[in-house]
Structure formats: C-alpha cells, structure tokens
Symmetry: D3
Subunit: 61 residues, 6 copies
Amino acid sequence: MPYVTVKMLSGRSDDQKRALVEKVTDAVVETTGASKEKVVVFIEEMEKSHYAVGGKRLSDE
Amino acid sequence: MPYVTVKMLSGRSDDQKRALVEKVTDAVVETTGASKEKVVVFIEEMEKSHYAVGGKRLSDE
Amino acid sequence: MPYVTVKMLSGRSDDQKRALVEKVTDAVVETTGASKEKVVVFIEEMEKSHYAVGGKRLSDE
Amino acid sequence: MPYVTVKMLSGRSDDQKRALVEKVTDAVVETTGASKEKVVVFIEEMEKSHYAVGGKRLSDE
Amino acid sequence: MPYVTVKMLSGRSDDQKRALVEKVTDAVVETTGASKEKVVVFIEEMEKSHYAVGGKRLSDE
Amino acid sequence: MPYVTVKMLSGRSDDQKRALVEKVTDAVVETTGASKEKVVVFIEEMEKSHYAVGGKRLSDE
C-alpha cells in the first residue's frame, strides 16, 4: 500500500518499464510517507485497437 | 473524461469493436454533456477460462 | 456480460445517470450482439481533488 | 453481484483456476447472503515484468 | 499477491465484511498455494443508483 | 495516456495529494517519453474496514 496501476499502450522496452516502476515508487514514497517496501506497482498494457478517444480508436487513425 | 471501460469475452470482430466505441461514445456525449473529444473508451477482453458465474467458468460448461 | 464502467466527475443529476445507463446499454447491445438483460453498467464518480491531467488536479485550477 | 476479481501471477493450472472460482464463490455466498447464481468471478493474470514491490519487478529479482 | 477485489452493493454489516475477507482469503490460499500473509482483499461498495442491469438501475426498480 | 491510478488509505492531506500527482506525473514522463499533458492520474481512497492483508482487515488490528 499504496497500489499503483499504470495503464499504457504496449511498446515500451523492458528498460523503460524497469525505470518506470522505480521512479514512480520513489515519487509515491517521497510524497505519501509510505514505506518503500509496501509500494506495489502494476503495469497494464493495451493495444491501439482497444483504446479510443473521441469515439475513434488509435488503430483507425 | 468520462472514461469508459467495456469488459467482454474475446471474439468480437474489429468492425464490431469500432462500432462499439463510436456508439458508446455518442451515448455518453448525449447524456452527460461531455465534449466528444474528451470521452475515452477502453476495451478489455477476457477468456472463458477466466470468467465464472455461479462458481462455474464458461470454459467448463 | 459485457460489463461497462463509466468513470466521471461527480455532479451529474439522477436523470442524467438514468439516461446514461440506458443509452450506453443500447449502444452495447446494438454493436456486440449481447442480450440486453446481460449488460451491466457501473457508474464511478470521482472528485476534482482526486483527478489530475498533466500533473495538475482539477481542484487546483 | 457481488463481482469478484482475482489478480495474480500467471502460471496456475486450469484445475487450480476451476477450484479457485468455486471456493471463492462459496465463500462469498456463505458470508454475504448473495444467491450463488449471481456471484461473478473474473481472473486477471499478470506477468512478472509488470509487477513490482518496493520499486523492483519480480522479473528483476 | 493474489489481490482480490469484491465489488458489491453497500449495506453489509461489519461482521459480514470481516467474515467475507477471512473466508475469501482462505479460499484463495487453499486453491492457489499462495501464502496467507500475501493475500490482499479490497472491498468496494456501490450504490443502487450507480448499478444497472439490462439498462435499468436498481434504484429505478 | 498513460493513465495512473493510485489506491491508498484515506487520510493524506490535500498538500500530499497535490505533490503526489505532480511527482508521479513527472516520473511517468521521464521514463516513458509520454507528453506531460497526456498523463492522467486518479486517486482512489479506501477505508481500513475495506482492506485486508492475510485475511485480517486493518480496522480489526
């Protein structure tokens, strides 16, 4: 606790994901006072055909 | 904003998904007064082996 | 099934929410072929102090 | 209703998942008084590279 | 891990919720082999005006 | 996009939440290359009676 979920398009590299969870965890610890070992981060990836803004999917642009 | 998530069994065609996000977006705009370009739709698909009603998975029926 | 979640700022009227779930359900039925009685809609409301775009909460604008 | 989501690392067998949704459904029925046929369970699997505790992903340990 | 979310209508007593998280946790441990102390359960309550089946909210029935 | 959800116990101050969304947004921008104005953060608060680890709610400890 806290539990952080980052939802984003697939395609980031493994190095980017590693850095992402490190930096986000640090940001949460610094601002909430939570213990670092209690911070959990989930990454969820989505495809362009499953994501739409303004009624239009990214895969249709 | 609003953010709409539609969770359903996998198997719909690409045309169905395209129509789904269009129509759902229109329904949200019409009833909430949100600007169309601010409406976001996510599609999440699930497998029959990961979905159960009454304690029984669809893949076990 | 399908399960639809609409996440939006609090403040819509009861009539708007009633219309929202009706129209969104119709849109899902029309485009996915699901039976109307199987479509589930959840509304989730959020406060302006719990929602940020570009690092700035709506309550801070 | 209720709707139960179980999020866990991928790797459980089909038999484990079948038992999981059965036993969880029974636990919900027994304690909430819900009708068994109304209890819905979703399983969501995640990869070790998408899950971090204390800023470190399981895939990096 | 696993992380379990139980979404249900508000109105259950504190005793029911206590029993719910105990029994659901036991069911998860028994069937997945997870360590008990690693199982996390979240309860999310919803109002009848925010939940619709077949396009009709429970608060409108 | 990305969409970040931070789920935590209620009780943080408004200043902590403001700092949280700022720092988390910066961490996401720095590591994923997303444009800052596209990063969305949601805060979700939970009560101790709705959160259990190892079958025991925080409100029962």
